[in-house]
Symmetry: C2
Subunit: 386 residues, 2 copies
């Protein structure tokens, strides 16, 4: 298990935090029956909220926001004050780890992330190492601060990019629409690619374990770019290194179980193989039918399996609220009858988008989504008891 010489703030043991009032999300992660389907939204603390834009303006820059404990705490809690969401997620960026490796992350206004250095040759790869977690102290401080500020309202999710997704940015030096450089390296020098991915996996595991020590109650690995790989390459260059992260992750902290979630955007075709990952939850995008996914990897009541998280198209939030409600019900129904046996694990669903929420989303439309998830999922459970 990856552990750091760096220790988060001393008052981050679970005894320092208020008891959890809404554990619906954590129970669903562990395939335990819940009274309603829990819901949270990828990128729920973000630009579609005017209060986020205000804080962002005060912070001056994205990294100014992410590296300031108070700002990061404030924006993490903003969506919870508007909507009855069942989980909070740390406000941060997936690229903090390569930044701590010395690649120099920046966000130009109106553009995506950019690294000052890229990693495309033998010399650059040789220099890579698992970074000192002290360089990421701002993240762990934010985790502890958010956990305290939540005061037990809902659990806090920590996260990281997957080894492959981080490698995409490290090799490309920025976002990409064709992944030409990273795939050129992968197909030309697989040895160098494996070395990058091994370092990334160990760094991600240590990073997530330190988030757990700082107060994260669940962790999620975002394999945002796993879906750009060819069949065969995905298994070798993405899945294997996600498994290497999971093998090193703490499953418990202070005696409490810490669930782990893996989300591969565009990974639906590899779901049967992802069933073998040592994680609790698999995230899905909107191309995958939840009923099909449940049949493939959700498991039977009483048997092993994965909880499923997802998967509505975020663009549905541009439709009028009554259309949003219809589509939310359709997604809940596609998962099928809720597991209601409190005594044994069974198939569970955590409602989410299939990708991050758009910055152009009308905030009031999110209310319709969250309200319908709660009301319709309660209705589905009530219908079973008739």
């Amino acid at each position: 298990m990856s552990t750091s010489t760096f220790t988060p703030t001393p008052n981050s043991s679970s005894s320092a935090f208020a008891p959890l009032q809404n554990d619906t999300f954590l129970r669903a992660c562990l395939r335990q029956a819940t009274e309603h389907t829990p819901v949270w939204l990828m990128r729920q603390a973000g630009r579609y909220l005017p209060e986020y834009r205000d804080t962002r303006a005060q912070a001056g820059s994205f990294m100014g926001l992410a590296t300031n404990t108070q700002y990061a705490t404030d924006v993490t809690l903003q969506p919870l004050d508007r909507y009855p969401l069942d989980a909070a997620i740390l406000f941060s960026d997936i690229l903090t780890v390569p930044d701590a490796m010395g690649l120099g992350l920046s966000f130009a206004l109106g553009e995506g992330p950019k690294f000052a250095k890229n990693v495309r040759n033998e010399a650059a790869v040789a220099e890579l190492a698992v970074p000192d977690m002290a360089k990421l102290r701002y993240v762990f401080d934010a985790v502890t601060s958010i956990r305290k500020a939540l005061n037990g309202r809902v659990p806090l999710i920590g996260f990281s990019g997957s080894p492959w997704t981080l490698a995409c940015y490290m090799v490309e030096g920025a976002g990409s629409d064709d992944y030409r450089h990273v795939k050129t390296l992968m197909y030309s020098r697989p040895d160098l690619m494996h070395r990058i991915l091994a370092v990334n996996a160990d760094a991600v595991a240590l990073y997530l374990n330190t988030q757990i020590e700082a107060g994260a109650q669940a962790v999620m690995v975002f394999d945002s770019w796993g879906g750009v790989l060819a069949d065969g390459a995905f298994q070798q260059f993405s899945l294997a290194y996600t498994a290497r992260v999971l093998a090193q992750l703490k499953t418990h902290h202070d005696g409490v179980r810490i669930p782990s979630i893996v989300f591969t955007k565009g990974g639906g075709l590899w779901l049967p193989e992802m069933a073998g990952l040592n994680c609790d939850v698999l995230g899905l995008d909107w191309t995958m039918n939840l009923g099909t996914a449940r049949a493939l990897v959700g498991g039977q009541t009483g048997g092993p399996g994965k909880a499923l998280q997802g998967n509505i198209d975020p663009n549905i939030l541009f439709a009028p609220p009554e259309h949003i409600a219809t589509e939310v019900r359709r997604v809940l129904d596609s998962f099928g009858a809720p597991h209601t046996d409190a005594g044994t694990p069974g198939p569970t669903h955590i409602f989410n988008l299939g990708h991050g929420i758009s910055q152009f989303t009308p905030p009031e439309h999110v209310s319709a989504l969250v309200e319908t998830v709660h009301s319709h999922s309660r209705h589905m459970r009530a219908a079973l008891n008739k």
Copy 2:
């Protein structure tokens, strides 16, 4: 069947064309045994070739190139002079049909396509109609000219964008990375979306039938953006209208069978449903395992099924030639043992990329790919006869 009052040039009946010398591609489309696996490359006539860039410079603009019969003929044949490809594909763009609908297509230098008008409201949708094919005469003239210039070397493939893919561009007014406008319309006003798609389907069918009359020996529908749709929406807004195109397509011309190909980028999860399409070939991107696809939709020897086309990642072409050869063999092997019974249809594979070739591809690397497809696929057949 959609037929036009417009008639292509009178000398385009098959009797006017030289007999076909290499029918490997057409036989593989019809699931007939071939001596080697045929190969062609999406966007094979394109910017990676210096001779293409020269012609493009002479033409002054992309549309100047596409609308000039001689230029379109020249660039279509350029890759055939370099590589022993088994098919030619008309040089054109998928957006010619909406352009003929009056939306005003242009290509600014270094940018993607752009329409002068977009289609986002009731009034704009009401104006849409199947365009007069005379406005697309430049396409049909190019088809006939290319067919003549090919002089029977290999068959000529005609093509169109799918109704959904055309609708994406028509509603967005340009390329998009989130499909926000087209999905907003789809989720908010499905009635308008269905009307756009119905017009597009009838226009595409007529367009492809007129290409067939002009000399196209196979036709392909590019559903380039089908994969951005949610499960459920794909079936309703993309697949149903591809089916509407296919229902109107000529399957024969001048007594000769005209195979049809459907390619949905990112559509692997829906392959079982695409098996029900009335087409001969299904195109696949690199995320789909060819062996899995063959088991799902390839059919047994003697039974019905689809030929499969694809699916190597175009980025493999940035690796050194020996790595390219290894990956080409891997893709051929993933399809499995070739069907060799000449007397009955069976599973067949047409080698292609999983998406268009990159403009940055070294042209000499393409030789390694084509050569390995031919040599290894002959070797696979020889091994079966031992």
